[in-house]
């Protein structure tokens, strides 16, 4: 169990705002931190990692205190059992893919772990490549593998998929899911992509203006009834005309006819598509 109860004054583009978070995160769960820009999502993640000090409060992970302002405890990032994937991947340009992972390996640890991880993210044929020669998706896979070399309990991800195109995004989502399950990680991911959250997360912390607005399952938060029992896709409207709406969901553009219910949709609206509403045809 991760227990977070912290506050800090943040200086955002739109002025000062108070981040005040009190949440509990279950071990081995996949939690998304969701909310508009400037809500304090990345700040919260950085405070969990020890990269930014809260003004007050405490952070406890599996009964170990990582931060406590009263007892004046604040573990440096090095001593927190974490892996962190940065939005810009933060791969070391002076090292090859392999060296980036070996750097993370503690002294005298088994090197085979590095190669196993590279294989798991499908990069075992690019070990000697420098990061600048990799695609965006490959870079994030290296960053993900590197973050797991020390086998941390907690994996922190700061919008790791936001700079990727849809195909790479979907592929990295599956790697993420697989690694989360295989290593028994407690994963916390900052994201503002609804379909991604719906696909990966067990739980969503909805932050708005520094406060936790909701802490719910994705289905409840996004108001999708009984999602487990029918196929539901989450997408975003990319084009609207008089008769049809085009929705981007899971890397595919889906065309849906306009109805009375869809009249208020515009480009950028988030929507859910239910299998029950679609027709079926047998493939010849």
């Amino acid at each position: 169990m991760i227990s977070i109860n912290i506050h800090k004054q943040l200086h955002m583009a739109q002025g000062k705002s108070m981040l005040n978070v009190n949440v509990q995160i279950a071990s081995k769960s996949f939690t998304a931190i969701y909310g508009p820009s400037g809500a304090g999502k990345t700040s919260l993640l950085r405070m969990i990692a020890g990269l930014m000090p809260p003004e007050g409060g405490c952070i406890e992970v599996e009964d170990v205190t990582w931060f406590n302002s009263v007892k004046e405890i604040s573990l440096p990032p090095q001593n927190r059992d974490i892996g962190f994937v940065f939005q810009d991947n933060a791969l070391f340009p002076n090292m090859t893919v392999e060296e980036n992972l070996l750097y993370a390996l503690p002294k005298n640890a088994d090197r085979s772990k590095v190669y196993k991880l590279l294989k798991m993210v499908g990069l075992d044929n690019l070990v000697r490549q420098r990061p600048e020669l990799l695609s965006g998706g490959q870079k994030q896979r290296v960053a993900l593998a590197r973050a797991l070399v020390r086998q941390p309990k907690v994996l922190l991800l700061d919008e790791p998929l936001s700079a990727l195109d849809d195909i790479n995004r979907v592929s990295l989502q599956s790697y993420l899911q697989q690694l989360h399950d295989e290593f028994g990680l407690t994963t916390i991911m900052v994201s503002h992509n609804v379909s991604e959250i719906f696909k990966l997360a067990d739980n969503v912390i909805h932050l708005d203006n520094g406060l936790v607005k909701q802490n719910e399952t994705p289905a409840r938060l996004f108001n999708i009834p009984d999602a487990q029992h029918e196929l539901t896709l989450i997408g975003e409207v990319v084009q609207v005309n008089h008769t049809e709406i085009f929705i981007l969901a899971d890397g595919n553009v889906i065309k849906v006819k306009q109805t009375l219910q869809t009249a208020d949709l515009s480009i950028g609206s988030k929507v859910s598509i239910h299998a029950a509403d679609l027709s079926l045809k047998k493939l010849s």
Partner: protein
């Protein structure tokens, strides 16, 4: 005849080595500092860029003089005389060329994304390991610029050397002083040799700097 040239290169080399040891930690400290005193430190380090070398030389002369505080202390404690000595020239040159090492390295470090350092910390690495294995290797062009400029700037010293070193053959008589000396003695052919070699070397050095790293040079040194 080649003694002044040899002395010049020895001085430039020793000064550059000292600047690597002193300048890189200062640059690292300034790059990560958020203190209000940072501007004061930056101004002090940059003073040799704008101050006439004779002014700097004058103050160093007073400081190094065995009659005064610092110089007297060195003289009494270690029998070390900085005035009119090679050691004194090295110390003066280190102060004189400090901004040429500190500025490019500081600019290089400040231009690195902070996520590199943070990523290394979250991978369990100490700040020292992070500095040597991640930060420094990624600012190689800046370090090279610092090295070359410090070396070149020391080659070109004149006023400072004259003030604190004088003109002692084999000890403090560097090439730039020798040129002046030979011209005074109307010995133009020897002056030509010294001047020509200094000109050629300075040009080649600057050419290397501009071709390897125009960016940092333009951004920092011309400020």
């Amino acid at each position: 005849m080649y003694q002044p040239l040899w002395l010049t290169f020895k001085l430039a080399l020793v000064t550059t080595v000292c600047l690597v040891v002193i300048g890189i930690p200062i640059a690292a400290g300034l790059a990560r500092s958020k203190s209000k005193l940072k501007s004061v430190a930056e101004a002090v380090i940059s003073l040799p860029l704008v101050l006439p070398p004779s002014v700097l030389g004058f103050y160093l002369l007073l400081a190094f003089s065995p009659q005064n505080g610092f110089g007297k202390m060195l003289n009494d404690a270690f029998s070390l005389r900085l005035i009119f000595s090679f050691t004194g020239l090295v110390l003066g040159s280190v102060i004189y060329s400090l901004p040429f090492m500190v500025h490019p390295v500081q600019a290089g470090l400040e231009a690195l994304p902070s996520s590199l350092k943070e990523a290394s910390q979250t991978l369990g690495k100490s700040n020292l390991t992070t500095f040597f294995k991640v930060l420094l290797p990624n600012i190689k062009p800046a370090i090279l610029t610092g090295l070359i400029l410090s070396f070149a700037h020391t080659l070109g010293e004149f006023g400072l050397v004259l003030m604190i070193g004088g003109n002692i053959p084999g000890v403090t008589r560097v090439a730039s002083i020798a040129v002046y000396d030979e011209v005074e003695a109307l010995n133009f052919s020897t002056a030509h040799v010294y001047a020509g070699i200094l000109l050629a070397i300075s040009f080649v050095i600057l050419l290397i700097v501009y071709t390897t790293n125009r960016h940092i040079f333009k951004n920092r040194i011309t400020q």
